[in-house]
């Protein structure tokens, strides 16, 4: 099938801590298709972060198969995994993870820097384009410490977008944000999903998960539930009725 982005079969991850073996994942099967907007939920220790690391090509499974956009990730070495992350994945983190004392524009350019095929000119154009799509074109020369948490997370989303990834992986993207800013960020994800971008977020808040169209719950390293949501909440509609608390919220 062409539109299969992520295929996971019987994924097992065991951490060895001395003599102790920790079974983080105990056999996960999952398929994520193009234009899916998935929320992966679960308590801490449920294995959702481990799962995220593996599908983000930051870690490799102990057993099982993982195909990302048709590529067998299991066979990849360290450098090839880096290259996969560079070309096929966009990361958004809970704590934004922007480079300090580096402008929004240069932060956005960062993934393209590690792609030798892209010229400096194209790099700049694509970074500006990505910042535009998160509504930050006018703040491209600001440094992270001059921006609000919401703005910083939007720069991080622009950075995740800039390499045209097959999937955006967001690990607790609203964890450090207040409720209105969280909805703003979810609004951006919904907009991106609407134009066909696959988004997977990890969250423990059911509230945030309700903006997505597929919720997968993890428990003890296994999938507990996998449900489709036919009519997810619309962030843009809700934003209209939400009071603007302050223009410059800082976290």
């Amino acid at each position: 099938m062409d539109d299969l982005i992520i295929t996971v079969k019987n994924l097992v991850k065991v951490y060895k801590m001395g003599d102790l073996e920790v079974h983080a994942l105990r056999g996960i099967d999952m398929e994520i298709r193009k234009s899916d907007f998935v929320a992966i939920m679960g308590k801490s220790g449920s294995g959702k972060s481990t799962f995220m690391n593996i599908i983000g090509c930051l870690d490799v499974p102990t057993k099982g198969d993982y195909f990302l956009d048709g590529v067998d990730v299991k066979k990849m070495n360290r450098d090839q995994l880096a290259s996969l992350r560079n070309k096929k994945i966009g990361f958004v983190f809970q704590s934004f993870n922007l480079l300090s004392r580096t402008s929004a524009l240069e932060n956005t350019e960062l993934p393209l820097m590690y792609n030798s095929k892209i010229s400096s000119k194209e790099m700049r154009e694509r970074a500006i384009e990505a910042l535009k799509s998160v509504g930050l074109a006018d703040r491209s020369h600001h440094f992270p410490n001059q921006m609000s948490g919401g703005e910083q997370q939007r720069v991080a989303i622009a950075r995740a977008l800039v390499n045209n990834p097959v999937v955006i992986l967001a690990d607790e993207p609203t964890g450090n944000l207040d409720s209105r800013t969280s909805v703003e960020v979810m609004d951006i994800f919904q907009q991106l999903n609407k134009i066909g971008i696959t988004v997977v977020i990890v969250t423990h808040e059911p509230d945030i998960a309700s903006y997505t169209n597929r919720n997968i719950s993890f428990k003890d390293g296994k999938i507990l539930k996998d449900i489709r949501i036919e009519n997810p909440r619309s962030a843009s509609v809700e934003l209209i009725s939400m009071p603007v608390l302050s223009e410059e919220e800082t976290i």
């Binding site: 360290r78 880096a82 993870n97 820097m113 590690y114 400096s120 390499n163």
Partner: protein, 406 residues
């Protein structure tokens, strides 16, 4: 990552911590500067020694009588074996590799002018002595073989002697002096030669015809030494062989027997002196290199701190697709940049320091391109060597741990 971007990123990250970068660089700056200054001092003294020796005449060979051995006890050189004027004549006529030659007799003499006196050494030589020693007559004339044959009481004197006897700038030519109560007429003044490599004043000398000194002053039949100059510097070994053969034959020594004379060349002395100052240069430079090494350890220390501080940044870069070698290169370039920029400033400071020493202490200083290149390459190598370990450490970080690092 492209090299241009790498360089820009490295410069920016160094600029973020200006004070720290400067202090780290200071180690390299001081190291490179001291290596250059030390090499300049060493090279300068070596060249000054060499030029002084060349001034003596590098083709010069001196033949001394050896010490004789009686029942295993050596006596003072020249006490039992003497060189004679016939030895000299044989050397002068039968050695084609010898250009100029002279017999030498030496004594010390009390010099008395009108109201001054001075004690110095008096050399009795043939006129060939002047070209052998590169002596130039400043005013008046040198004596000739005619004056020697008739044992004329004439002499030429050096500047120091002239100054003591006739005052600064006084003209001694034509004046009468008494040497050990024997009246001599001064016919020439030798152009100043200054001190030789061992600090001896080469202008404190009286030179008179050989026969005059041998017969009138010393009344001896032997000679002290024979001085010759080879036809060229390359011919020194050949001249030595010829002289050895001629003198052995005259002294009735078989080819396997030890000669009863010694031939010393100025080149030997020059080489020994150069080797000594060469050792000094190496010693000075290696002490200076230690400071460069310490500077390198400073780089390593700061880079290790930097890697720990920037673990999160490394995680982010790896997360968006930096490979191990990208991270390695990033930190290596930063270390290299510190040592390169430090090296450039150090070269400047080294040249400046050398010039200051040259002017302030009037030491002979020679800065060579080789010494600049050497210290520059050395500092670069130190940057790579000491930057490698921290860079390797950064490149081997696990991206997940690095991203979570607080």
């Amino acid at each position: 990552m492209k090299l241009g971007n790498q360089l820009r990123a490295a410069l920016r990250s160094l600029a973020k911590n200006k004070m720290r970068t400067f202090l780290t660089m200071l180690g390299i700056i001081i190291g490179v500067a001291s290596v250059i200054a030390m090499l300049a001092i060493g090279q300068g003294s070596k060249e000054s020694i060499q030029s002084q020796i060349a001034n003596l005449g590098t083709n010069l060979l001196t033949i001394y009588p050896s010490a004789s051995m009686t029942g295993g006890v050596r006596s003072e050189a020249g006490t039992s074996v003497k060189l004679t004027i016939d030895d000299y004549k044989a050397v002068a006529s039968r050695c084609p590799a010898v250009m100029y030659s002279t017999p030498v007799v030496r004594t010390s003499g009390q010099l008395i002018a009108i109201n001054q006196n001075w004690r110095t050494s008096v050399w009795g030589v043939y006129p060939d002595y002047f070209p052998i020693r590169n002596l130039v007559i400043e005013s008046g004339n040198a004596f000739t073989m005619t004056e020697d044959r008739t044992a004329q009481k004439v002499c030429v004197i050096g500047h120091t002697v002239s100054t003591y006897l006739f005052g600064e700038g006084g003209d001694p030519v034509g004046k009468q002096i008494r040497i050990n109560k024997i009246p001599f007429k001064i016919i020439g003044l030798i152009a100043p030669k200054g001190q030789n490599a061992w600090g001896q004043d080469q202008d404190d000398i009286v030179i008179a015809p050989f026969t005059t000194v041998q017969e009138r002053m010393l009344t001896i039949t032997y000679i002290n030494t024979i001085m010759v100059s080879a036809t060229s510097e390359k011919m020194i070994p050949e001249a030595t062989d010829e002289i050895t053969q001629v003198l052995k034959e005259r002294h009735r020594l078989g080819p396997s027997e030890d000669p009863d004379f010694t031939i010393r060349s100025q080149a030997d002395i020059a080489n020994a002196a150069s080797a000594t100052s060469g050792i000094l240069t190496v010693l000075l430079a290696s002490i200076a290199s230690i400071s460069l090494l310490v500077g390198g350890i400073g780089i390593m220390n700061i880079m290790l701190v930097s890697v720990t501080e920037r673990t999160r940044e490394i995680g982010i870069r790896m997360g968006v697709g930096a490979r191990g070698r990208d991270v390695l290169l990033q930190f290596l370039i930063e270390a290299l940049m510190i040592s390169l920029i430090g090296g450039i400033i150090g070269v400047g400071l080294g040249i400046l320091t050398s010039e200051l020493i040259a002017h302030g202490m009037s030491w002979p200083i020679t800065i060579t391109i080789q010494s600049i290149l050497l210290s520059f390459l050395f500092s670069t190598a130190i940057g790579i060597f000491f930057g490698w370990y921290p860079a390797r450490k950064a490149a081997n970080l696990n991206p997940i741990d690095a991203l979570r690092y607080e």
